[in-house]
Every structure is written in C-alpha cells, then in structure tokens.
C-alpha cells in the first residue's frame, strides 16, 4: 500500500515537473522520427529582452549606469547588464569574448590589444568623457592653494622621505602629512603614478590605500595635514568636505590650474586630465541593441556625463567619435 502510494507520488511529481519545465511532451512515433528535427525553429521565449553585456572600470560605470538607465527607459526591450570589476578585468572579459562593451579609465595596453587580435576581436575605441584627477587637502589647510608637479612627485614618489608639510616647502608649517588614495588595482592609481611619478605603479608604500574613494575623502577631511587624490566626480559632490589644489606644471605654483570643468575640457588642467573610454566589440555592433546603445551613448546619453560629475568631451572629439562609430557600423 505504502509503496504504491509512494510510486503514485513520484509519478505525479514527475508529471508535474515536466509540466513545469514548460516543454511539450509527445510520443515518439517511429524510431526514425527521432532524428527528424525539422520542427519549427523555436524562437527565444516571448518578451525576453535582449541584453548588452558591459564590464570594466568603476569610474566609467557611473556614466554607463546613468546612460543605460535612460536608454532602458526608451528601448524597453533592451537591458544593460552592467558589471564593475575594474578596467583590467574588463579588458580580460573582452579578450575572452564575453562582453560587448568594456568601460575603461585608461587606453588599452599593447599587450591587451595583441590578445584581442589573437582572438579575432576587433575593438572600437570611443572617448565618452573627461576626468580631472583632483588632488585634495583638508578644509583647514590654509597654507597651500596651488602645488607644482615636482612637489607632488616629492610627496608621492617611491622612497619619499616627506613626513611633514615643512619637508616639501620650508614656508609651510610643521604639520604631519597623511596620504590617502586608491589602491593599485585601480586605473586611477595607474594614471596618477604615471603622470606624477613618471612610471606606472611607482608609489611610496606608506600611504593609506582604499578601493572606496569615499574613504579617501573621509580620511582627508579628518586630518589637518591630509592629502588625497580621486576622480573629479567625487570632488564635485564633496566640495564642502575637502579643498582641491591647483596643479602647476612649471616650478611656479602661481601658474596652477584648478580642476574645473572648463579647464579640463580645454586641456589646461595638466597633467592630471584623462579621457574615459568605452571599447566596443565591432562584431557586436551587428546586433541592433548594441548599435542602439552605443549610438545613444554618443548622443542623448552625453547629457549624463556632467550630471554624474564628469566633464564633457570637446565637440570636435565627440564628432570624431560619432564618425568612427558610423564608419564601424557601415
């Protein structure tokens, strides 16, 4: 009795589950019929939105997320699948052919380009925004407004012996200097070390690294002698907490330029301005949804760049990007 009941339950579970699987169960007429798979081609289940796979930089993701949200509002049958693993990992995913668009806060390296070519992946490089890395100090710091690249180098270079502000400039007070910044996994770190210390990844060891730029801001605002650097979007939304320094490429600090949207756009904020990129897999552009998304990114989506705190690219640059895109889809 009990065995029969159990069999009964198992059978009904089986039927139920095959029903749940959403598949049609049919009798196989003849064994030969099994090979006949000329059944009508089954299309993806209805209402399933197509997706654009995006991965990469945490800096660029803020723009891509905002653009993607606006895009999804207009193209309701497309979804943006956005991951944030960092520029380097984003390129790795691109090399592996898993994504359509890679967010990048630095240009692609030659080695990465070579790997892409090896896998037959052709990339379209588009500059979508500009960023001015901002060097910030504490609000109570009243002795420095502008700093030279050389002074920055003396503070941040590997093996630097600078312990107090006085060590940098004799006229500055004897306040201990405490340094904050992103960790070495970050594209911002790569760019800063290259621009200031002349060599990528060359950085003094005794600063406080953090993957979260909000932690850097909290650190700088908590120490009178604090100093840190991060993308300008973080500065623009925290102007009440930290003070941005002007940066001068000459020996005269008076020549310093601040990280304003105008100076970054005009290319005057040197050497800490950088372009932000998206890299699009050219073969993915054959898909309508990817094409729509990239076109949207370069047109209506550009409104989002300043909205999330980055700097618009110049009109010429934008036109060049649009032309490159149109050439790629032709």
């Amino acid at each position: 009795m009990s065995v029969r009941r159990r069999l009964c339950v198992m059978f009904s579970l089986g039927v139920l589950s095959s029903g749940m699987l959403g598949c049609s169960v049919e009798n196989v007429g003849t064994p030969a019929d099994g090979t006949n798979t000329s059944a009508p081609a089954l299309t993806p289940s209805s209402g399933e939105p197509s997706r654009v796979q995006v991965d990469g930089s945490s800096t660029v993701k803020m723009i891509t997320a905002a653009v993607g949200e606006e895009f999804e509002g207009k193209f309701s049958d497309v979804k943006i699948a956005l991951k944030v693993t960092g520029t380097g990992t984003g390129f790795k995913e691109m090399i592996a052919g898993r994504i359509d668009v890679a967010n990048a806060s630095r240009p692609i390296k030659d080695s990465e380009k070579a790997d892409c070519e090896k896998n037959g992946i052709d990339l379209l490089e588009l500059i979508v925004a500009l960023d001015g890395l901002t060097v910030c100090v504490n609000k109570d710091n009243d002795w420095v407004e502008s700093i030279t690249v050389d002074q920055l180098k003396r503070i941040w270079e590997p093996g630097s012996t600078v312990k107090t502000w006085q060590d940098v400039d004799a006229s500055w007070p004897d306040v201990p200097i405490s340094l904050f910044g992103p960790g070495e996994e970050s594209g911002t770190f790569d760019f800063f070390t290259e621009a200031i210390n002349g060599k990528e990844d060359a950085m003094r060891e005794d600063y406080s690294p953090s993957a979260d730029d909000n932690v850097t801001i909290t650190g700088v605002s908590g120490e009178k002698g604090g100093m840190g650097f991060f993308g300008c979007a973080y500065y623009y939304s925290n102007t009440d907490k930290v003070k941005a320094l002007k940066v001068s490429t000459t020996d005269n600090p008076g020549d310093g330029v601040g990280p304003t949207a105008e100076s970054v756009k005009a290319g005057k904020y040197k050497p800490l301005s950088r372009p932000l990129f998206i890299y699009v897999k050219k073969s993915s552009l054959a898909r309508q949804e990817v094409q729509d998304f990239v076109r949207f990114y370069l047109n209506e989506g550009q409104n989002q760049v300043s909205a999330v705190g980055y700097v618009d690219v110049s009109d010429d640059q934008l036109k060049a990007s649009r032309d490159a895109f149109e050439a790629a889809i032709r």
Partner: protein
C-alpha cells in the same frame, strides 16, 4: 539539574567550614572569591560592550536611512538617481541564490554528517576528512569564488554551448521532450548557488554532526536491539531526534549565504541592473509563469550585498541613505530567516521526549 540543586548546601558548608578557624585559608578564599567576582564582571562587561556596539551601529544605520525606507524601495529596481533606487533585483537574486544553496547544501551536508557520525568506521581517512572540514570552514569565501569561477562557471559555459545546439531530448526512447529555447548565461544563479554551497557546506556538516552526536546512544542501541536495521534506526530514530539541531544549523548557515558578496562578484554577478532573474518580479509570477521560473536559475543576477556595496561607493552622498536602507532590508530578511529557524526548532523539538 535536581542533583546539582541538592549539592549546593553541602558545597557551601565545605567552603565556609574552614573559615572559622584557619585565617590563612580565609584570605586565600577571599582572594579567590574576589577574583571570581572580577571574572564575572569582565564577562558581563564584554557581553554588554558588544551589545552596545551593535546598538550604536543599528542606530547609526537607522538614522542615516531615515526618511528613505518605504515600501517602494523593495518594489523598484536600482537607479542612478538615489531617490528612485530600489532593491527589487537584489532581493529576487538573493531569494533564488538562497533557495538553491539550501537545495544543494541540505542533502549533501546532512548526508555527509550522517555518514561521518553514524556509518563510517573510525579510520585514518575519516579522521582526515573530519579535520579538513573544520579547516574548510575557515577558508575565506573569495577562495571559493575563484574555485566556483574555474569549476562551475566553466562547466556552465560548456553546458551553454551544448544546450544552445539542442532543441529536443529523447527520454528513454519513449518521449521526445521539446524544450523551448531558453537564453542561458554562464554567470547564472545556479553557478552562484553552487559556489555558495561550497561556502556554507563545512558549517552545515559541522552543525549536523554536532546535533547527531547529541542524540543519546541508548536510542540507537534500543532501536537496533528491537531488530531495526541501521537504515531504519538512522531514518526513523536518529534523524528525527537530531532534526531541531540540524534544521537550525542548516537555516543559520544558509542565511550566511545571503550576506556574501565577494564570491559572487568574483563569479561575475551583475553590479548594476534593473533585471530581475527570469523577469519574475512578484511572488504571483512564480505560479503563473512556469517558463520564466525555469529560466530564472539560468539567468544573470545581482544580490543584496552587492547592491549595498555599490551604493556605499557612489559619489553622491544621498546614496549613503540608500545603502543604509539596503542594510535594513537585508537585516529584516536575515531576522525573518532566523525566526523561521526558531519556529522550526520549536515544532521539531516538541515531539521529542526522552
């Protein structure tokens, strides 16, 4: 309990007896009593200190989420506008993850515990497994993330290639099962759940072992003496007796899986998305959309801790409130799971008498 109660007056007499005539011993006893009191105060302080930290943390979180927590937070998906950001995608992602983590870890975990405690003979190999289990419980979850990436995700990629070319399956030559073609993603919920299973499995096994060990051996002996086989003894006596402990351990360790972000990010979980797995965004659709229910485990996902992590890193300081609200929702989910554990424990232990 009753024997300890009757002991107390005797032990009191034993301590106080020498006090009256040996003054050296008196000092020593006073010192020892003082130390004992100090120790109990230290214990009390440590307990209340951690409680105070917890209260401070909770107050800070509730404070910063003030005015943000509303029902639309769990009805809407993520947004780059802090006013519209919601947790729907993360909630559903975590739901599916925990569901499948439980489905995978319960049979494997309880089965292994039963084998190790009830069936296996005490051999070198078994001792090796037992020792390694406790070591595995201490492995950081990101390591399991790497393992999951290389094993499960690669397997899913292979499966995807195979599955994409397949439209119909013959089942034992009797039926042809025709599957509607489903989009499969290699960074899907099953891959995430399998990885989380690895994370929680050592804890599940350990807690199940512990509760099996607490079942009195007289129960097993009596059952065997009455002619029951080992299978009958385990299935009808030992496991029901250990069930409260096993279920509590399983539920608590599965709820740990909800808080894991690192291995999921490693596997390639989405960071920012408005997509809900299988497009099932309400419990009703679990019943009305069987096709989508089938699709959900093979879909891309995000999870609650990933969304919280991302919000806390946003530039806009308004996202602090969003992150705090996310934490509160996560806490509510965790507390409800723990409440379920308590209820299960209560009902399962009601039947037990020995």
């Amino acid at each position: 309990m009753s024997s300890a109660g009757s002991d107390t007056p005797t032990s009191h007499r034993l301590i106080s007896a020498p006090v009256s005539f040996v003054s050296g011993a008196d000092r020593s006893i006073r010192r020892r009593l003082f130390l004992s009191r100090v120790f109990s105060w230290i214990c009390r302080f440590v307990t209340y200190a951690s409680l105070a930290v917890l209260i401070v943390l909770l107050t800070a979180i509730i404070w910063s989420s003030f005015g943000r927590l509303a029902f639309d937070f769990v009805y809407s998906t993520n947004s780059s506008n802090p006013k519209n950001a919601g947790m729907l995608a993360g909630l559903w992602g975590s739901f599916w993850l925990v569901l499948f983590t439980a489905l995978f870890s319960i049979p494997v975990g309880v089965g292994s515990a039963v084998y190790l405690e009830e069936i296996a003979k005490d051999s070198f190999f078994v001792r090796l497994i037992k020792t390694n289990l406790s070591n595995l419980a201490g492995v950081p979850s990101i390591v399991y993330g790497i393992l999951g990436y290389t094993v499960f995700r690669s397997a899913a990629a292979v499966l995807k290639v195979w599955f994409d070319g397949q439209h119909a399956f013959n089942i034992m030559g009797l039926f042809r099962l025709r599957l509607h073609k489903l989009p499969i993603y290699e960074d899907n919920i099953l891959v995430g759940a399998l990885t989380l299973t690895l994370v929680v499995l050592p804890t599940v096994i350990a807690s199940a072992q512990e509760s099996l060990r607490s079942v009195p051996s007289s129960l097993r002996v009596a059952s065997l003496a009455l002619g029951a086989t080992r299978w009958q003894t385990i299935w009808r006596q030992v496991i029901p007796a250990a069930l409260p402990g096993i279920s509590t351990g399983v539920i608590l360790s599965t709820s740990r899986a909800i808080g894991e972000a690192a291995p999921l990010i490693m596997l390639g979980a989405l960071t920012i998305t408005t997509m809900v797995p299988g497009n099932i965004d309400s419990p009703v659709k679990l019943i009305t959309r069987p096709m989508q229910v089938l699709h959900a485990p093979l879909d891309q996902f995000t999870a609650m801790p990933i969304e919280i992590y991302d919000w806390s890193r946003q530039t806009d300081s308004q996202f602090t409130a969003v992150a705090a609200t996310g934490i509160i929702v996560l806490l509510i989910v965790l507390l409800s799971i723990n409440a379920v554990a308590m209820i299960v424990r209560h009902y399962a232990s009601r039947r037990l008498k020995w």
